[in-house]
Amino acid sequence: MRHLWWKVLCGLLLAYVTVFSFIVPLGPGVIGVDQTSLSSGENTVIIQSYNAHLEESDLQVFLGINDSTYLCTEVLEQVDNDKLKVRFTLPQDAPNTSFNILMNNAKDGTMFFPNAFRYADAAGTSGDFEWSSCPVSVVNQENTGFSIPFQPIIYETIRNLMFHVPMWFTMFFLMGIALVSSLRYLSNSKTEHDLRALAAVQVGLVFCVLGLITGSVWARFTWGAWWVNDPQLNGALVTFLIYVAYIILRNSIEDDQKRAKIAAVFNIFAFVILFVLLMVLPRFSESLHPGKGGNPAFNKYDLDNTLRMVFYPAVIGWILLGYWIYQLRLRLHRIEKKFYYNENV
């Protein structure tokens, strides 16, 4: 029973994470509009929202031009559950500009949709045009409901944060175990440490493959392609290749002692290069990944409390599961060693 507690913890954490990441609703937001170019005079557009409470009586819609200038609109009717018909008038000689949508009500808070429209027949005059600005009382209102933050394009797939991302954390944890074991093997030549390194790499590769496949699926439906040229993805693929090479290397040496020693040397060498690739290189190139290279996405929400409440347990839970599987693999290796080679480990 003494050794069981962390396995129970792992189960509880993963159960909590799975339940919560499916039960917590996605916060409200605007998905799109039915037309993207506006003309001068009266415009009527339909705004499509997601999970928003359009039926609330205090709903207000503004067109944002910059941080301080907003145009008033008139909410005509709610077309269906998440569609809203809105009317507004644009001046004739306005300059070329793009409009953001801001939707406000007390329950949902402020929903923001950047660059919703362009002005089609703009006069192209200078930027110091006087807009008849609307007196806005509430901008950046807090969402009062309990929800996962809404992100454009990502929508519900933000929940993948609890499943796809911990795969990489787990893989790194296991590869870290492999590195430490390899270092210890070189210092004391005990078979146990070699077996540990092998088991950690094997289980780490499983998580690496899962991370690659789930990442590929996620990328397809947010960025539009199964594979994109991105430092993060390159790093993931190279990690995979390097550790497959590690396994191939092990299989190509017959002698046990020699195999363990050479594999340990390769593992250390590879890990250092991997560290360079994953930690140093992405810092000076663009990435599609959130929070990197001026990407919008999560960086604003990194400190979101609801997300944090589920994400950290998710990481710990998956790492524990990885460690559990690693231990099973290691014990199997030990028994095989003992039985086939009659070597006590």
Partner: protein, 73 residues
């Protein structure tokens, strides 16, 4: 058989995206995966992870079976 399996898996991995991104299948994919706020994407990710881990447990199971048989002999 032993050498065939990883290769088949590899070929499958390489071929799947191409098969899936074929023109005809494209619109169907988009329709299903973009419905209800892309929720199917999340579901498929969870299913992939579950299936992957279960497959690995099955591999371990097979290894234990083999070891058990060898010990019995």
């Amino acid at each position: 058989m032993k050498t065939f399996k990883p290769f088949a898996l590899l070929i499958l991995c390489v071929a799947l995206p191409f098969l899936a991104s074929a023109q005809a299948a494209d619109s169907v994919l988009e329709e299903t995966f973009f419905s209800s706020g892309k929720m199917p994407v999340v579901l498929s990710v969870v299913v992939i992870i579950l299936v992957g881990l279960l497959a690995y447990v099955a591999v371990l199971n097979k290894k234990v079976n083999k070891l058990e048989n060898d010990i019995k002999k």
